[in-house]
């Protein structure tokens, strides 16, 4: 693979492109020990996935959880709130579905142990 470097940071990676045309860079170096899959973009640079800081990983997880809460759990919360306001019999059921949805998201996106 090839890495484009600028200010001693890896700003681009590619398994095939050794030129990185148009890109403002200091140099291009070849890395025969890794592939592009081994790298992850963190704060405007690429670093090996194994070297990604725990805090960064967990922040990413938090953001992902947040997005899924909005997409999946929040509608169930709104259903529960409406049933509660209308004093429907199934309000408790809806509450449990909402809480189960949040637990499911947490299980699927666990935080990394530091």
């Amino acid at each position: 693979m090839y890495k484009a470097l600028k200010d001693e940071k890896i700003i681009a990676i590619s398994d095939t492109d050794s030129e990185f045309k148009f890109m403002v860079k200091d140099s291009v170096v070849e890395d025969t020990d890794h592939t592009a899959e081994d790298y992850e973009q963190v704060n405007g640079e690429y670093i090996l996935k194994a070297d990604v800081p725990v805090d960064y990983q967990n922040e990413q997880i938090r953001q992902q959880r947040q997005a899924r809460y909005v997409a999946e759990s929040d509608p169930l919360r709104l259903d529960y709130d409406e049933a509660l306001a209308r004093e429907q019999d199934n309000s408790e059921q809806l509450k449990q579905e909402w809480l189960a949805s949040k637990d499911k998201i947490r299980e699927e996106l666990p935080y990394v142990e530091g």
């Binding site: 990185f20 890109m23 860079k25 405007g44």
Partner: protein, 547 residues
């Protein structure tokens, strides 16, 4: 005592030698009676002294011995020249001696040989010739008078031989002598016709371009000249001094003989050389001040001269004028013709007092009153068209304008063979091409207007980390297509042009961002929460080559 005598043999009494610079003795084999009978020539001159003659009185002759050897190559001629006279007088009853008779006969024989030798060197006519020998000499003398031409003929004998070998052609020439003699006249006539034609063409060009041909005379023309002696000035192009030699050399002379001056106009201080003829010449190093003056004041009446690169620019001005033409295309001054005419308040139908100019009789037999009496008068109409054809019926009087071009007469010009072949068209168009895009064809305008638009050619690029920057190596468009993720957003920004930003709350959309980027400019791409990249490419502008 034996009476011996010399015997005159049948020998020519003349002998010649060529000296070698060392031989002094030259023999002769004819008999002479006395040393004085020998005449000695060296070259054409008779030598009277400096030699001795031996063998006088000997039948077999003798030698002429020079004191100093004649020069190498000198012609020595020994000639017997016995005085023709009797040296004896035999008396009646005197003693008869055979020797005396023999001697006298010898002398007579010598005389005869001497005369024969002279005859042999004389001009003679053939025994069968009818020419009187006396007539020959005047002709010879005439030829001698023309000896220079004869020598010339002799020197040109080779050519004469050539003529002789082509004598049949010479004969043909003689046969056609009348035509040949007429040829120079015909050639002159043709030449005169050609000169007249050239003069006519020149006159036509002069008539077309104006009547003034003083160097750097300038004038406005309502059409573009294709005469290279006239340069269009309002384009402010550099003119090649090796082509427009007369103008360039004149400006060089102006600079050489002029005086340095400085003047400030409209805040621009111009340093120039003032020539005797009033020309103001600025060096190319100060051309920017002239440019600034032109931009601010509209007039920059200076010549700009580049002595290093042998080129020059002509003065220019923004203030041309728009000429006018009448409806038949003739140039007219920038004003409308006068409208005039006359009517008589008491004009009657049928009288001689008619309306003139722009007034006309519109109707006749119209009731009118003169001093209370009814009579038939006329109805007077008015039409400006009757006064001048510029005022056409029912047509606006605004006249059509025409573009005027400022030209300078720059005199003689030269072109090298290379310029005449490879660069001729370029030189012809230099400074004379109307670059006004409004004159382009519809296709041309469309082509130009589309040059800034995206083409179908593009370059796929590797997208770097968010915030990475890129430099365009051509004019074109940065294009980004991304989607997926949660609340993705992306932005292409350029300090010099603009920013394009898009974000989406859905994780299913793919959004596309374009931003035009000029060649050499840098742009930045930032993005976040993007699930996948569909495309990141640079799309070349139309007319832009791939880089």
């Amino acid at each position: 005592m034996t009476d011996t005598h010399i015997k005159i043999n049948n020998v020519t009494p003349r002998v010649q030698y060529t000296g070698n610079g060392s031989t002094t003795s030259f023999p002769y084999s004819f008999a002479i009676f006395d040393e004085s009978d020998m005449v000695v020539y060296v070259g054409d001159e008779v030598i009277e002294s400096g030699y001795t003659v031996t063998g006088a009185g000997q039948t077999e002759g003798g030698n002429v011995v020079f004191d100093t050897a004649p020069e190498d190559g000198a012609i020595i001629t020994l000639l017997r020249n016995v005085p023709i006279e009797r040296v004896t007088d035999f008396q009646e009853g005197g003693t008869f001696r055979p020797k005396n008779i023999n001697d006298e006969l010898d002398r007579l024989t010598a005389f005869t040989q001497q005369v024969q030798e002279g005859l042999d060197r004389a001009v003679k006519v053939d025994p069968t010739s009818s020419t009187n020998p006396e007539d020959v000499i005047p002709k010879v003398e005439a030829l001698y008078d023309d000896i220079a031409n004869l020598d010339a003929v002799a020197d040109d004998l080779t050519n004469i031989d050539t003529v002789a070998s082509n004598i049949s052609d010479v004969g043909t020439c003689a046969t056609n002598m009348e035509d040949i003699q007429a040829a120079p006249g015909a050639a002159t006539t043709a030449s005169n016709a050609a000169i007249a034609a050239a003069a006519s063409a020149s006159s036509a060009a002069i008539s077309a371009a104006g009547t003034h041909f003083k160097l750097f005379h300038h004038d406005w023309f309502d059409y573009e000249l294709d005469d290279m002696a006239w340069l269009r000035a309002d384009t402010f192009s550099w003119q090649d001094g090796t082509v427009y030699t007369e103008a360039y050399n004149h400006l060089v002379d102006d600079v050489t003989n002029g005086t340095s001056q400085t003047e400030t106009i409209s805040g621009h201080t111009i340093t120039y050389t003032l020539a005797d003829d009033g020309h103001k010449i600025v060096s190319d190093a100060n051309a920017s001040e002239v440019e600034g003056l032109y931009n601010d004041a509209g007039v920059a009446w200076y010549y700009i001269l580049d002595l290093v690169n042998h080129k020059f620019k002509l003065p220019r001005t923004k203030y041309g004028f728009t000429g006018l033409r009448d409806y038949v295309g003739k140039y007219v001054p920038e004003s409308l013709p006068n409208i005039k005419g006359s009517i008589n308040p008491w004009m009657y139908t049928g009288t001689a007092d008619r309306p003139t100019g722009a007034f006309y009789e519109e109707a006749s037999n119209v009731e009118t009153y003169n001093a209370g009496a009814q009579s038939n008068g006329m109805k007077v109409g008015f039409s400006a068209n009757l006064s001048s054809s510029v005022y056409q019926d029912n047509a606006p009087v605004q006249q059509r304008a025409t573009q005027m071009y400022l030209y300078f007469y720059v005199g003689q010009f030269t072109q090298s063979a290379t310029e005449q072949t490879a660069g001729l068209n370029s030189e012809l168009f230099n400074g004379k091409v109307d670059l006004n895009a409004a004159n382009l064809s519809t296709e041309g305008k469309s082509l130009i207007s589309g040059l800034g638009m995206p083409s179908t050619r593009y370059e796929d690029l590797t997208l770097g980390a968010s915030g990475s920057t890129y430099t365009a190596t051509a004019n074109g468009w940065a294009y980004l297509a991304m989607g997926g993720g949660t609340n993705p957003s992306a932005e292409i920004s350029s300090d010099t042009i603009a920013t394009r930003y898009l974000s989406a709350s859905s994780d299913t959309r793919t959004f596309h961002i374009y931003l035009p980027i000029a060649k050499g400019q840098t742009f930045k791409i930032s993005y976040s929460n993007v699930g996948n990249l569909s495309a990141f490419r640079f799309i070349y502008a139309q007319g832009e080559p791939n880089v």
